[in-house]
Amino acid sequence: MLLHDLAHCRAGDKGRVATLTVVPYDDDAFPELVRALTAERVRAHLDPWVAGEVVRHELPLVCALQFVCTDVRGGGVTVSTALDTHGKSLSSRLLAIEL
């Protein structure tokens, strides 16, 4: 199963830091996400687009996981030579992760 089957995701960007918000379609699936979608797995999956560390925050009241990714490849929105200078497409890359 792909994360795409279970959850939706939004990317935000702050310079070379990207945030990825993962929310399950079904609130009952949140514990499964907490178990399966570790920071280490996300970091490995997003390599090499994310070169720095990935920190995970759990927000159980809203059934959301927040991943804060540092050193997003390309140098941030303003000076990057990447096609997606913001890193906005990282959200869809993350949804391709196999659970």
Binding site: H8, R10, K14, L61, Q66, T78, T81
Partner: protein, 437 residues
């Protein structure tokens, strides 16, 4: 005029979530939303540096170039209904923006007064030896500095509201502060009430990207379906004096507003859910609850706050050369292999030049597009990137087509912190011609 008696609820709407946003949903919301306040957030991090460059060329420029196109259809509708309008479209030149709004209102015969908030521009007083937050290197080592703007807070906007301004134009202020200021003024929240300030900041955080709360940026056919996306409605919030809020959008508009769209936006660009920093407060989102409250209605409550930071964040814009991007396509059998061969040819041809080009073959096996991108200072070197991709027409693999070459001046952005004492917000009220001062 400040409300003589504090209100019990305020309805505040989002009329733009970025500089390129649509105009018609804002006009629709102003016409039919029964709003007290409408906020148009149009100023991204880098936008002000671009504006500063235009201002250097023309002292009357530097504000949002779409200011007139956005406000001309909106202001008559909003003002007729008694809705105040707040926007950061002043960008690098709030004074010129205020004059442009004044002229627009005079043309309409509108007597409404315009409040202009300045003082965010700290370029003249910035210590260029201070370290950038991003890399610790002194600011001056990041290329020629062209702009430096402090994020002002709600306290910079309040005087214009207290003076009765019905349109408020700012430069750099924190996005949520544009919402917090009118909420606090109408609901009678004191600046040191950290939980109320946090609640108002959360309203601003959720509304500031406009359509991103109502299903924009979320649609994923078959998974996350959003009805009538082409007519996405912008959101509003009914905010109670206790800081809780019910979010909605106009009946008959496209989009979708439910706990899913709100949860995504709740954490958008939040790097620390325990302490989202604004000039007004440290917003703690950990206790926030998001509850479906009917069709396209969501109730949000539970924000907590801690006292505002002692220092203000400053965004510093610097020149960072020029970016060149050149592309060519290959289709049909073997397209990907021809794309990779083209990439090898370009890499060989550009080797030895002082640049670090990004060379990538995008697309699939039968429709591949070579993209070569580089950033640098030397125009001759940058020209070589476009020339080498274009030369693939007659010198490269079979069937290459669709060459496009783009050059864009690049402005970089870094940040630093300054003490509040270094920043002096000011308010100017522009009355209608012939009005008593």
């Amino acid at each position: 005029m400040a409300d003589p008696v504090a209100r019990t609820t305020v309805r505040i709407g989002a009329g733009a979530g970025f500089a390129g946003d649509r105009v018609d949903p804002a006009v629709d919301l102003a016409a039919h939303g029964a709003l007290d306040d409408l906020v148009l957030e149009c100023l991204a991090e880098r936008t002000i540096a671009l504006g500063q460059q235009r201002r250097l060329a023309d002292p009357d420029a530097g504000h949002d170039p779409r200011l007139h196109a956005r406000l001309a259809p909106l202001l008559p509708v909003a003002l007729e209904r008694g809705t105040r309008v707040l926007t950061n479209m002043g960008a690098a030149n709030p004074v010129a923006a205020g004059r442009a709004v004044r002229a627009l209102l005079d043309d309409l015969g509108a007597r409404a007064s315009v409040g202009v908030v300045t003082g965010d521009d700290v370029l003249d007083v910035l210590d260029l030896d201070a370290p950038a937050l991003e890399d610790g290197r002194p600011l001056r080592e990041h290329g020629e500095i062209v702009s430096a703007n402090a994020y002002l807070g709600a306290d910079a906007i309040t005087p214009a509201l207290e003076a009765g301004a019905q349109v408020v134009v700012t430069g750099r202020v924190a996005d949520p502060s544009l919402f917090l200021a009118p909420l606090a003024q109408r609901l009678g929240w004191a600046p040191d009430d950290v939980d109320a300030t946090a609640a108002g900041t959360l309203v601003g955080h959720l509304l500031e990207c406009a359509g991103q709360l109502t299903g924009g940026y979320a649609a994923d056919p078959g998974r996350f379906d959003v009805p009538d996306l082409a007519r996405l409605g912008f959101p509003f919030a009914d905010v109670a004096a206790d800081g809780s809020a019910v979010y909605g959008k106009l009946d008959g508009t496209g989009g979708r507003l439910d706990r899913h769209t709100v949860r995504e936006q709740l954490l958008y660009e939040v790097t620390d859910p325990a302490g989202y920093v604004t000039p007004d407060v440290l917003l703690d989102l950990r206790g926030v609850r998001v509850e479906d409250a009917g069709a396209d209605r969501v109730r949000v409550h539970g924000a907590r706050g801690r006292p505002r930071p002692d220092r203000l964040k400053v965004t510093v814009g610097h020149r960072a050369g020029t970016r060149v991007e050149a592309e060519i396509s290959y289709v049909g059998p073997g397209a990907e292999a021809r794309g990779r061969l083209a990439a090898d040819v370009v890499a060989t041809r550009l080797a030895g030049l002082p640049l670090a080009p990004r060379i990538e073959v995008r697309g699939g096996p039968e429709d591949a597009r070579l993209r070569v991108a580089a950033r640098g200072e030397d125009p001759t070197v940058l020209d070589a990137v476009g020339h080498e991709v274009e030369a693939l027409y007659t010198n490269g693999p079979a069937g290459g087509g669709g060459v496009r070459v783009h050059r864009t001046p690049v402005l970089g952005v870094v940040s630093t912190l300054v003490p509040r004492s270094a920043v002096h917000p000011r308010t100017t009220i522009l009355e209608a011609v012939g009005a008593a001062a």
